[in-house]
Amino acid sequence: MTQALERSDYHRKQKRFAHENVTSPIKKGIGLASFMHGSGFTGSGEKILASVVGVEATSGGLVRILAASTEIGQGTNTIFSQIAADTLHLDYDSIEVAQPDTSQVPNSGPTVASRTCMIVGKLVESACISLKQTLISAGLLKENYSPTEFRKACSDYHQKFGPLKLFSKYQQPPQIGWDDVKYQGDAYGAYAWAVYIAEVSVDTRTCEVQVKDFVALQEVGKVIHPILAAGQIEGGVAQGIGYALYENVVWKDGRMANGQMTNYIMPTAADVPLIRVFFEEVPYAYGPAGAKGIGELPMDGPAPAILSAVENALGITGLNQIPLLPENLMLRHRSSR
């Protein structure tokens, strides 16, 4: 919180805006939201799902990850390869990720719920540890080895024992408990935490709100890939800005009446401020290399931070509806005067 307040210059800006707003028709404001998002399925979800991940090593020492998680641009294949490469002390390029076709790969569950990195990534890590241990137990590999020695060990294993394929199944961390009957306990194994601060300007003539600056500070455990992780946050924040200010789903007779880009308005390059992303890293013991979930987190904070900034700009309270379209704000703003 302290860091987010400093990064956004929160207190000084609040004072400065209060002073400037007296004379300007364009009112500025700053607001914050502190929040968290659970990683993985809720309650017994992960226990019931009991996801499985496999790794196989070819006789040439190429490692293939067998998981059902889908790469949709969020970086699953990149981080899985990183996790495997780190665990096996190999080059990133010697890791391959199989196509997520469940006739070829085990069921590691759906690509949802901020679970791919923390839950499935952890299974990648533990399957890789089993692979390493298998080679060591077979007397083909020492504890400390070079990539060349690893390749040799894989080749020897294939000659002696045949295919080398290991699986890892999800096991609930011991300290987590959830009671499905009483519906009580630990809803999630871990949470990602965040403080988001939005700076807005509100044109009191048109009631148009613009987001001028955005600080997104979060703790998602260990960050596996800084560029991809920041990409997840920036994308989520931009969606959150749309959710807060523009994206109005109009229902008519059970259908969406504005299902076109012409009339369903999402943020463009001209609407999104530079989103300033910061990570605090507190490793989580049951995530791969200490990582937790990240995907859904950035959707949660922008709307409350932006509405609070608009309240600050206009000196009002109780804005509790999104999207805050200019016409809605105009009605509210006029009735409060």
């Binding site: 949709i72 920036e234 989520g236 931009a238 076109q260 463009t268």
Partner: protein, 168 residues
Amino acid sequence: MSGHTVRIELTVNGQQREAQVHPMTRLLDVLRENLRLTGTKEGCGEGECGACSIFINGELVNSCLVPAIQVQGAVIQTIEGVSSSKKYGSKLHGVQEAFLGWGGAQCGICTPGMIMAAVHLIENTLDPTTITENQIRTALAGNLCRCTGYTKIFEAVQKACHLPGSKA
């Protein structure tokens, strides 16, 4: 679509190409279906998202809104021509390098259009190193992206303005 078809001749990425199509066939479909240049993507199909952006005679255009008959004899450049044009040899364009290096792409649907818009900005600026963030925003305002929040795209284009592979 029934009715008569016409023969369209055009230059695509430096090559003479032709297609026998209905005059009102969208240029997007001529490129993707007839010429098999599937790098250009269809996003909304109504001229709002910019995913299908290409150059017609050097102008940045949404190819989903252009009827085939309108490009008779035109010079067209698509995303496939950005890296393979003689100007750059087989190398990637500076904008493509920057998108790769700075995380400018996620799901990839907007990427070809974004790159075309960025290339258009850079190649039409005498000294790309003078391009400001606001100019980039304006240049890309016709291209929607759902994944990246634009931030990494702005960063990539800013870097591209300074890469040697981006010089016009």
